[in-house]
């Protein structure tokens, strides 16, 4: 009841302002009041009502409309329960107890409010697509060329009379070349509906250089026949030009699709490499079959979760903090396993296998008891989500790109440690000839523990990366342990480069096969190929050479 009266009050206020004949100086505040009251109606509107309100706001043309509608689209528009005022919030990070408010009129910070005191003005799929188009129309006159480009692209998806008019209007003043190109594409698409054959021919020749799938579909539709058997496009020249254009677009799209497949292969390969290089050290260099390797990765992933929980509101950097933290946690656990179990079992691979398998079960149950059997949600920082749009046919997802780079960094760092540090030298010495290394004064037991810790730490770091790709749950390790052993065996035991080349090539082969065979068969093919390969070269791609190899 108080609600309605308050709203009535506002209407009267607006009316008063208008009746009092406010001058030009006060015109702005009258528009503000209308804007606010229109916004206020969103509180109790149904979805169809909300659509009408958006339409009115778009036509009202208040300067803040775009910002507010964007917030609405992104689920950042709330009203405060106690005074019913509408606010935007900066971010809706769930880990925060209170949200920072932004005033929709001044666009300035307006304090903060606890989550319980705010009610989201919600949207559904249909409303969000309405909002997207509305926001795009505003975006076309934004001073930022990137926003204009996005808006133009968005408008191409739903071309109608008013959109085309807006594009035409903008095309005369636009200066940025990529935006200009998008607008030209849009106008050409519209021109395909023209009754004049020459205009249509011109449009096709403009569209020939595009690589967009939408343009291709539109051009191909010119070649369709109507049910009566006549061509939709009456002019033969236009049809011919369209057919050539479709072919050229297909050709360039196929080229980019190949590059994309290659990238997918490398990114899958980088995950293989990341999960295998820790094992390449423990299994390859030390000869220990560590079935708990996957669980060490799981510990790394859970560390990421704990770090994220410990730093609410800092999702962006928590993942960077998690990398050393996961390394330390997994390395300490690795050293503990080595000191308490594995060191008594050196030279007895079967017992080691069984004992570490037992350890893996214990670790799984440990996290189940601490964190419950439910998966934990690790949030992806904003800088790791989304895509790097290289052009319309080729885009690369950021998370995969960063993981690829991360893998190469970890690999390089590990190589440096083994080749250029005292510890690395000792590790290599002990693995090549334990007796001789001992005779030279190296504490081989200490080196064993450190080596195992290093391999385990790398597993923990791999867990951080996996937390961004898959579920963080007690079974995380199990699903990767087989793959990691496969990579190490394929690459050649005891060789880091083998793990790198082996992992990458397995990833690429997998991804090359997948479009033809499906994911299930691709995996089987790779496994069969690997078995055959091992028959021919039992020691993998890069067999260990020299004296140490003969002892094995």
């Amino acid at each position: 009841m108080s609600n309605t009266s308050r709203r009535d009050g506002r209407w009267i206020f607006v009316l008063l302002l208008v009746l009092l004949g406010v001058g030009a100086a006060h015109g702005q505040s009258a528009a503000d009041a209308t804007f606010l009251s229109t916004l206020g109606e969103l509180r109790e509107a149904s979805f169809p009502d909300k659509e009408a309100i958006i339409e009115r706001m778009t036509q009202g043309g208040h300067p803040n409309t775009r910002v507010v509608l964007t917030a609405f689209m992104e689920g950042r528009l709330f009203f405060r329960n106690d005074d019913q005022n509408i606010f935007m919030v900066k971010s809706t990070d769930e880990s925060l107890p209170a949200l920072d408010l932004i005033d929709p009129l001044s666009l300035k910070p307006a304090g903060s409010a606890p989550v319980e005191n705010l009610t989201l003005i919600d949207t559904n799929n249909h409303l969000r697509s309405v909002l997207r188009t509305a926001v795009a129309r505003f975006g076309l006159s934004s001073p930022d060329p990137a926003v204009r480009l996005d808006s133009a692209r968005e408008m191409l998806r739903s071309l109608d009379e008013p959109t085309v008019a807006l594009l035409r209007q903008r095309s005369t003043v636009e200066t940025n070349s990529s935006v200009k190109k998008e607008i030209a594409t849009g106008l050409a698409l519209a021109a395909l509906d023209s009754t004049d054959a020459e205009t249509r021919l011109g449009a096709v020749s403009t569209l020939r250089n595009s690589i967009s799938q939408d343009v291709r579909n539109r051009l191909e539709s010119l070649l369709d026949k109507s049910p009566e058997g006549t061509y939709v496009e009456s002019d033969e020249r236009v049809r011919k030009a369209a057919a050539t254009a479709v072919k050229s677009i297909d050709r360039s799209r196929a080229f980019y699709a190949d590059i994309e497949t290659l990238f997918f292969g490398l990114s899958l390969g980088s995950v293989f490499v990341l999960i295998a290089i820790g094992l390449a050290i423990t299994f390859g260099v030390m000869g220990v079959i560590n079935m708990a390797h996957g669980e060490l990765m799981m510990l790394g992933a859970y560390t990421t979760y704990v770090v994220q929980e410990a730093m609410p509101g800092h999702t962006e950097i928590s993942i960077l903090v998690a990398i050393p933290a996961a390394f330390i946690v997994a390395a300490l656990m690795g050293i503990l396993i080595e000191r308490t179990i594995i060191r008594f079992l050196y030279g007895r691979p079967l017992e080691t296998l069984l004992a570490t398998f037992g350890v893996s079960l214990i670790l799984q149950q440990l996290v189940r008891s601490i964190f419950s059997a439910l998966n934990r949600s690790v949030e992806t920082p904003a800088w790791m989500s989304g895509t790097l749009q290289l052009n319309e046919a080729l885009s690369i997802t950021y998370n995969r790109l960063y993981i690829l780079i991360f893998t190469l960094l970890v690999f390089a760092a590990l190589l440096m440690v083994l080749k250029h540090t005292r510890a690395g030298l000792e590790i290599r010495a002990v693995s090549q000839n334990r007796a001789m290394a001992k005779a030279m004064g190296i504490r081989s037991e200490w080196v064993d523990a450190m080596t195992f810790g290093l391999g385990s730490g790398i597993a923990g770091v791999a867990g951080v990366a996996l937390s961004q790709l898959t579920n963080v749950g007690p079974n995380l390790g199990q699903s990767y342990i087989i793959d990691s052993f496969m990579v190490v065996v394929f690459g050649g035991v005891g060789n880091l480069w083998g793990a790198l080349i082996g992992g990458m090539s397995m990833g690429i082969v997998n991804k090359l096969l997948e479009p033809y065979s499906g994911a299930v068969l691709a995996k089987i093919f790779v496994l069969v190929a690997l078995i055959l390969f091992i028959q021919i070269r039992p020691r993998g791609l890069f067999p260990p050479a020299g004296r140490s190899a003969e002892n094995q």
Partner: protein
């Protein structure tokens, strides 16, 4: 003096024997054993542990009301450890050793198929709470989850009519439930005039985490100028990387909506729901549905589990319904004898949590309302469509040529798969 002592001893002995005999008799007579057959370890523990707790809560509640037929209920919990053959062993243990009156259990179809022969041989009673692929009706099982006509078909109808979808991707995990469901859906879509080239079916392994190639294919399939939707029967775990990849490749729910049959509140609580906002799920229950029954149930659940953040979900409601149906049937039959309870069950009604009634049908399925919800950023669902009342579950799909003439009726025909054209009951053939 000596005699007195002897009399006393004899009297003590006798009374002791009588008491212990009475106690023993009461022990056997006084409790009704309820078996719970849900994995508490292994891959399915994530989903099934919650269901074990739900049944325990229901038993607790019933005991507070004074039990059943004047006797207390006693839970017998076993752990089949997500291991399908172990499900059969544990079921046998429950039925033969513990002599339970009823079993609430199983999640995956493969575990249900594994225990079926045991329940039929030992004449047990199983309440199965999860949505499944249909094409089955056993004398000894009450299916309280959705059959395809209570979930998959209405979801596809919704997309076809309300969202005007013309092109379909049927995406599933590679096992029996997705394959059967997709077979039914494909036949249904073809019968509605969808062209074969507008349907793309694909299967991925359990726990698939690399969705890059497949999402690119879906994007390409969806860019042919016709509205496209994905009907997902992807199993629990693999969903997270799938939705993440969709989000990363900027496929939003407005472009290509994904409607899922295995993603509920419990699954969403384990992941960051923001990339999923707007995608759809079809269920018979959502935690966000505002009814007094549902509010009471959620409050009861939070009090029982001592954690106000735990969610409720569709299979929990199915157990809630199943348990109440069983209680009513036992009261009606006046006995926990499986045959008497099975005879009493068809026709029994109990309110569900969303404001309508769940009724046991002669085919051992129940009536359920269908809801379609859009995922919200907080991991709950906004209901965007609901069926006009409760839909009766159909055991056999009318869209598949091999089952279109088959019906199930345990009341008059006493048969789970009666062929109406050949007038024959082919016996228990689960295919």
């Amino acid at each position: 003096m000596k005699h007195k002592m002897m009399y006393m001893a004899a009297w003590l002995l006798a009374t002791g024997m009588v008491f212990s005999w009475i106690a023993k008799a009461q022990e056997g007579k006084d409790t009704i054993k309820v078996g719970i057959l849900h994995s508490l370890s292994g891959t399915m523990a994530i989903s099934e542990t919650t269901l074990k707790d739900t049944v325990l809560m229901m038993i607790d509640e019933q005991n507070k009301k004074g039990g059943l037929l004047g006797r207390k209920l006693e839970a017998v919990v076993v752990d089949p450890a997500s291991n399908w053959p172990l499900f059969a062993e544990k079921a046998q243990e429950l039925l033969e050793k513990d002599k339970v009156a009823v079993v609430f259990g199983c999640w995956t179809s493969v575990s249900r198929k594994s225990v079926l022969p045991v329940f039929e041989k030992d004449d047990g009673l199983l309440f199965y709470p999860v949505q499944y692929e249909g094409q089955e009706s056993s004398k000894n099982v009450i299916y309280t989850g959705a059959a395809p006509n209570q979930q998959a078909i209405p979801a596809v109808d919704y997309l076809m009519k309300e969202v005007a979808v013309k092109r379909w991707v049927l995406e599933g995990t590679d096992y029996v439930y997705p394959r059967t469901t997709n077979k039914i859906l494909e036949a249904y879509l073809l019968s509605k005039g969808v062209k074969p080239e507008d349907i793309s079916i694909n299967y991925t392994p359990f726990g698939n985490s690399d969705w890059q190639t497949r999402v690119v294919q879906i994007k390409k399939f969806g860019s042919a100028g016709k509205k496209t939707a994905v009907v997902s029967t992807i199993n629990g775990d693999a969903n997270v990387p799938f939705y993440k990849e969709l989000g990363n490749q900027k496929i939003s729910a407005e472009d290509i909506p994904v409607v899922a049959f295995s993603v509920g509140e419990e699954e969403l609580s384990g992941l960051d729901a923001k990339p999923l906002v707007g995608h759809l799920a079809a269920w018979n229950y959502f935690e966000s549905i505002n009814t007094p029954e549902n509010k009471a149930f959620i409050a009861q659940w939070h009090a029982y589990i001592k954690n106000p953040k735990r969610t409720t979900n569709d299979p929990m409601e199915a157990h809630y319904i199943g348990f109440n149906l069983w209680v009513k049937a036992v009261q009606k039959a006046g006995s926990t004898n499986v045959d008497k309870v099975l005879a009493a069950l068809p026709g029994i009604e109990t309110p569900n949590l969303t404001g309508s009634m769940a009724k046991v049908l002669p085919n051992h399925h129940i009536t359920k309302p269908v809801y379609i919800g859009e995922v919200r950023a907080d991991g709950q669902f906004n209901v965007v469509w609901k069926s006009a009342g409760a839909v009766p579950g159909k055991a056999w799909s009318e869209y598949l040529p091999e089952s279109k003439d088959v019906i199930s009726d345990w009341v008059t025909l006493k048969c789970g798969n009666y062929n109406t054209t050949t007038k024959k009951c082919s016996g228990q053939n689960y295919q």
